[in-house]
Symmetry: C2
Subunit: 334 residues, 2 copies
DNA sequence: ATGAAAGCGCTAACAT
DNA sequence: ATGTTAGCGCTTTCAT
């Protein structure tokens, strides 16, 4: 009672006990408490890729909101491998965490559904099919459309897409790209090369692009890491960005905001999404809601200096006077 | 016995039990087991700054080695704040983890010593004073010397240092800078501006530098983030790197290797250090060693394109023909 | 090889 | 207000 700050003890005795606790360096056994209380007040968070700076904002949001609600948070990662993700999640289930946040997981829907029987789950940036888990996503379809639209507004038509591999968000962004291209009557210009959500993935994707007989004038990469890798490959091939080719990324990570990169990118608010995830978990834990909820937050586009008009529309324009829209250098995704 | 793969059960019975486990979706209660076994097989890892890509390599190393040794790993971060770090660590102690890795912590020595009474601790990139905890560091004195020596080899004399704030590694790097400057008879050229181990910190530090009447010809920043922030400020002020000013970072993160940044940086092998940390923990857990051990790994310098000769030694050299030493673009710290 | 019993450190329910 | 007891789900020890 004393250790939990409850009443039912006289003030004098309380003092004695507290002193004894101090002296003996006593620490209540959380394991034993959790065993009998049947809850741990711990939330598990599985981050698919700790190296992707996008998750930095997500982590902050999760930590902040969890602390406000009195939960402890523990993190784990699957290092972009499905099997390791499964282990990480099993680990949390073994620990009997009270709730689970899965950030861009690549495990099966079935796996999530099964885990959902043991504990409330919120999935970030991916939809879930079962009735037990919630999701918080950014509208990747709309985000991809923003990217394409931005290029179109400059006059681009041949806009290629470097895909993001097997992640769920990547699939939706690809679909968003396809839809947007059709919407703008550019169905014939659709061009997709396969990539991965890493710098290496973007690098390879761009190399594929460079093999083609005629290059696109703009490239939309499935995330910032991928876009940066692509830029490396393109510039290594002697191309100038954005004069020869425009590049758009996704996530608006701190990387994109670096002056040396200054990448136009679709922004998704990781911090807000992290906070929402914790709110959804708390609702489930408290039994305040039994039906699934799927939050979708709106993306926006942050225009920096990697996008501009296509080459054929800037004849006579000298590089030094070309228009550069360049906003918010330091405005990362947090 | 069955769940632990032990013998002492007949094969037929075992099969029956395993089938029942499957059907009932039974999951052994790790909490109860840990309560009685007095160990959790869980290692806690507190990372001071999840946003710093240097720790990506550390995390991989830790995960890999821990998995090999049969430990589960859980991560937590203090988000660069001492108090949050303490909470994160308390959290792990409450959980009764079997071991604790603290990566570049900013908590007090006393705090670490106290925690060391409950559980084996290995501290990364910082020395510990007590007899109960071990440490794995890179030789920051030697690393700082490498940075200064590299500049000196180009002919630089006025080499400034942008400090890294209150982190332990930052203090040692500062000391290493001072020693190296004296060693190369450049004591009169010592110039330190205060920074922090973030992009913002480097940006501000460089702004301080820019206020001075005469600029240094080289800047050694306490880590890569800091160096990149400094480069932003310097280039915004119209300076060209490395023609007007050379820049060296520390950590050789994936950021430094980005083609658009291509930063000369002192490399410390995060992956190796992470693996060593787990080995030290395991030794302590198994009671194989009772005396503290302090591993020091040697840093190296990766030369890229942000360093070159000082302006006064390249008269008549046109920018296009200036020598650029540029190695290992994609050789990050992992 | 199998069963029964004790106890890890705590909370909750009941008794004093 | 305080003391006592049972039991959370497991492992370990001792009997069978």
């Amino acid at each position: 009672m004393v250790t939990r700050g409850e009443d039912g003890v006289s003030a004098e005795k309380r003092e004695v006990i507290l002193k004894a606790i101090e002296e003996l360096n006593y620490r209540p056994n959380v394991l034993a408490r959790s065993l009998v209380e049947r809850r741990t007040r711990i939330l598990g968070v599985m981050i698919s890729d700790l190296r992707n700076p996008f998750f930095g904002g997500v982590v902050s949001g999760i930590q902040g909101r969890a602390a406000e609600l009195g939960y402890r948070v523990l993190f784990n990662t699957g290092d972009r491998q499905r099997e390791l993700e499964e282990e990480a999640i099993e680990s949390f289930l073994d620990l009997s965490v009270d709730g689970l946040v899965l950030a861009s997981p690549r495990v099966d829907d079935e796996f999530i559904a099964r885990a959902g029987h043991s504990v409330p789950i919120v999935v970030l940036n991916r939809n879930t099919i079962d009735d037990l888990s919630d999701s918080v996503t950014n509208d990747n379809i709309a985000g991809a459309r923003l990217a394409v639209e931005h290029c179109v507004s400059f006059g681009h038509e041949r806009i290629a897409f470097i895909s993001g591999g097997d992640s769920a968000a990547a699939q939706v962004r690809r679909e968003g790209y396809l839809r947007a291209m059709r919407e703008f009557d550019l169905a014939d210009d659709i061009l997709i090369v396969e990539g991965v959500h890493t710098e290496e993935g973007g690098f390879r994707g761009a190399r594929e692009l460079l093999k083609m007989k005629s290059l696109p004038t703009a490239v939309f990469a499935s995330n910032d890491l991928c876009a940066i890798g692509a830029m490396n490959a393109l510039e290594e091939a002697g191309l100038t960005i954005p004069d020869d080719l425009s590049v758009v990324g996704y996530d608006n990570t701190t990387l994109a905001a670096l002056r040396h990169i200054d990448l136009t990118s679709v922004d998704q608010p990781g911090n807000v999404m992290g906070r929402s995830a914790i709110d959804r978990i708390a609702e489930r834990i408290n039994g305040e809601r039994l039906t699934p909820r799927h939050d979708v937050v709106a993306p926006s586009i942050v225009v920096r200096s990697t996008t501009g008009p296509p080459p054929d529309q800037r004849k006579g324009v000298t590089p030094s006077t070309k228009p550069i829209e360049n906003t918010s250098h330091l405005n990362g995704s947090e």
